[in-house]
Amino acid sequence: MLLSMTDIDKSFSGVTVLTQASLQVARGEVMALVGQNGAGKSTMIKILTGAYRRDRGRIEWDGRAVDFHAPAEAQGAGIAPIYQELNLAPHRTVAENIFMMREPKRFGFVDRRRMREDAKQVLRRFRLDIDVDRPIEDFGAATRQMVAIARGVSQNAKLVIMDEPTSSLDEREVTVLFDTIRTLKSDGVSTIFVSHRLSELYAICDRVTIMRDGRTVHAGPMREISRIELVRQMLGRELTAFTAEGRTRGRSDNAPMFLEAENLQAGTRVRGVSLSVRRGEIAGLAGLLGAGRTETARLIFAADAKDGGQVCVNGQARNYAEPADAIADGIGFVSEDRKVEGIIPEMSVRENLTLAILPRLKKAGIVDRAEQGKIVDRYIKALNVKCASPEQPIRELSGGNQQKVLLARWLATSPNLLIVDEPTRGIDVGAKAEILKLLRGLADEGLSVLMISSELEELIAAADHVTVLSDGRSVVDLPAEELNEASLMTAMAHQEEPGSEAGRAA
């Protein structure tokens, strides 16, 4: 074993993130590390690379017990993490990036010729023939990644960690990256490969470690585990034909269509998504991480520009330029990342709640504080938001209460369609149930809801039908009567083989 992490515990200010987690990597092995958001993969990697300290547990590296205090120590020992964006200095040349901090020198000056030759030689190992004097930002994501790998390897790395390396690559680039990984393997360098694209895991990895809720739930050879079993282990569900009991609802086919999206496309993340939401129903949007769910929602809301496809609202083709246009059409969007895209941290609950209805609240530019107060009080009561007072800064609220305020922000606009992205992420069980009940109630009153969720249980309990995305494409639209964990997982596990045309038609 090159690396053996055992019984790793870690908690942040009382919240347990890892419990007796483990990870073993053999020399020259490609290890898949998979798990849902919050499963503990990132924390595990950060502990390994010295960014975090573990609370308990043992790390053996190359046969020795180690305790890395800083990223530099781990790198010095031969662990090369390939970060998504942080690895390279974009304006510096390829050669400079590879040799930063250990430039070949002559009389104290950088020996540029040798640096160039050495860089070329390092890259030749990966069959990469590029102008090493060009700034790294001139090259595509795949090349950048390979240069980052080359930098690590030229520092005698024994383990390369790749976190979702293929998320921004096209198929040809993925092939090149896989060749690189095979080259590493033949040189005895190990790889930890984090990805959510199942087909890729099967294509390149030797073994897989599955994490769930901060524990390692499975470790074994890649080809001994079926896709469906892999998904099952990730999500932690027993396969049953369970469907929500006493569901009286179902897709009411006579309700008018509110939103229809046809063949949406944008970049490498969304490659053809079609979905529809009727008036008064909750439509689910499911898929593994990286399947393109959030990206699809952002296209509909005009938060990002689409490359192709059509959005129809109320039967009319709409082409929004700005979120403000979508809002004017009665669409609201509760984003997944509350911190980055939701709350204005310094502002009060009152102001955060009424941000989207400012145009309606103002009279001659002045905010009608009485009306504002009424609305705020009503929603705080209706959604049971727990805050000291409406004037409390929103950053001081718990995640669940922040989420309620953001929901209220959109409900206050009296929307026709509410897009909710992971509405129950990071909030406690009680609040979860409350929010789902609330959405159901609103739908019964005529609101259309498009709900993105990673939790099958939630989708089955709340949605009237679920569109499943896989690798940027909508693969199936499951009606209520076919909605169960097995059907969802089968659809989510559906993935085209790299290079095959099979999944494209779906």
């Binding site: 690379t49 010295g50 800083a70 979120p323 204005i344 941000l355 145009p359 002045i366």
Partner: protein, 341 residues
């Protein structure tokens, strides 16, 4: 998507109480530090500066600080959106150069002197607003950093003012126009009243209007603001217009006080005084907050430091060094409080 961040290693758990106590102390100091310094300065002056409590001294101090405060109000709004405006001094010079040109009939003879004076107020303010809009346009249209975008006018603006006046000092004696800098209402100098109105209006803008909330939202989290339907570009352009107009107003007051318009000197270094007032007043330079009254307090503190030292025989130059120390201390405290929170 999982990304491996680069968070620094977590500190060990023990001594949490002590850290919490220190954080609370830091928060207290960063919030009330300026007020404490202000109180100490006032106390010191009452004890040691002759005539400090006299009405005249108070008014003198207020008159001297009013132009900075007016400009600093615009600067507070600009900084609240996460920007900065280096061009305020130059815009002051432009407005200050235009006004006398108009009422001295240098551009176009105007029959009615009353109309000329009215225009001498309105036209410079409109021009100042246009220059402010230009700053905002560069920033929002081309995505140029505010510091570079406003540097253009900082450099060119004073030259523009000088070309208006052919680099000549314009002297004048026009009591009606100069009422804004030399007149008084009920014994209170006009510019102090103007300052009070501008401060009140800014407080009102931030506290009560939709625009005020949009400014704070854009500065606090531009992505979230945009997703909530706020037109961030429009909001930004607007605050630069406001900053320009207020700078213009301040320029008019300065030339009215001086009986003269010297395009080379009007508003010189004003951008620094205004930014210093904002920083000492507790508005973070990173945006999202607008402590309007804090800015006023900051300007008062910087003014009091100067007069206190002057009154006690310390040269003006030493006041600059003290100012420097105050600015660094204030911003350092805010930063520390922010990081430990």
């Amino acid at each position: 998507m999982t990304t491996i961040g680069t968070t620094t290693p977590q500190p060990a758990a023990p001594a949490r109480d002590r850290a919490a106590g220190r954080a609370a102390a830091l928060r207290f100091l960063s919030r009330y530090g300026t007020l404490i310094v202000f109180a100490l300065l006032v106390l010191f002056n009452i004890l040691f500066t002759p005539n400090f409590l006299e009405w005249r001294t108070l008014l003198l101090n207020l008159t001297q600080v009013s132009t900075v405060v007016i400009v600093a109000m615009g600067m507070t709004l600009v900084i609240a959106t996460g920007g900065i405006d280096l061009s305020v001094g130059s815009i002051m010079a432009i407005a200050g150069a235009l006004a006398p040109l108009i009422f001295l009939d240098s551009i176009y003879p105007i029959e009615s002197q009353g109309l000329a004076i009215a225009l001498a107020f309105v036209v410079p303010l409109i021009v100042a607003g246009c220059f402010g809009w230009f700053n905002g346009f560069l920033i929002t249209r081309f995505n140029i950093q505010p510091i570079v975008a406003t540097l253009v006018l900082f450099i060119a603006g004073r030259g523009i003012a000088q070309t208006f006046t052919n680099s000549q000092l314009q002297t004048f004696n026009e009591p009606t126009f100069q009422f804004i800098g030399k007149g008084a209402v009920f014994g209170i100098p006009t510019q102090v009243l103007v300052m009070a109105v501008v401060v009140a209006a800014t407080v009102f803008l931030v506290r009560s209007t939709a625009l005020g909330r949009q400014i704070l939202a854009v500065g606090g989290n531009e992505k979230a603001a945009r997703l909530s339907g706020i037109n961030a570009a429009r909001v930004k352009r607007l605050v630069y217009v406001v900053s320009g107009v207020l700078a213009g107003l301040s320029g008019l007051i300065v030339v009215a006080i001086n009986n003269a318009s010297d395009a080379a000197r009007v508003g010189s270094l004003m951008e620094l005084d205004a930014i210093a007032a904002v920083a000492v007043g507790g508005t973070l330079l990173s945006g999202g907050r607008a402590n309007v009254l804090g800015t006023v307090l900051g300007a008062f503190v910087l003014q009091l430091v100067r007069t206190t030292l002057l009154a006690n025989g310390v040269p003006d130059a030493a006041a600059l060094v003290v100012k420097a120390g105050l600015i660094i201390a204030a911003v350092w405290l805010q930063g520390r409080a922010e990081r430990t929170a």
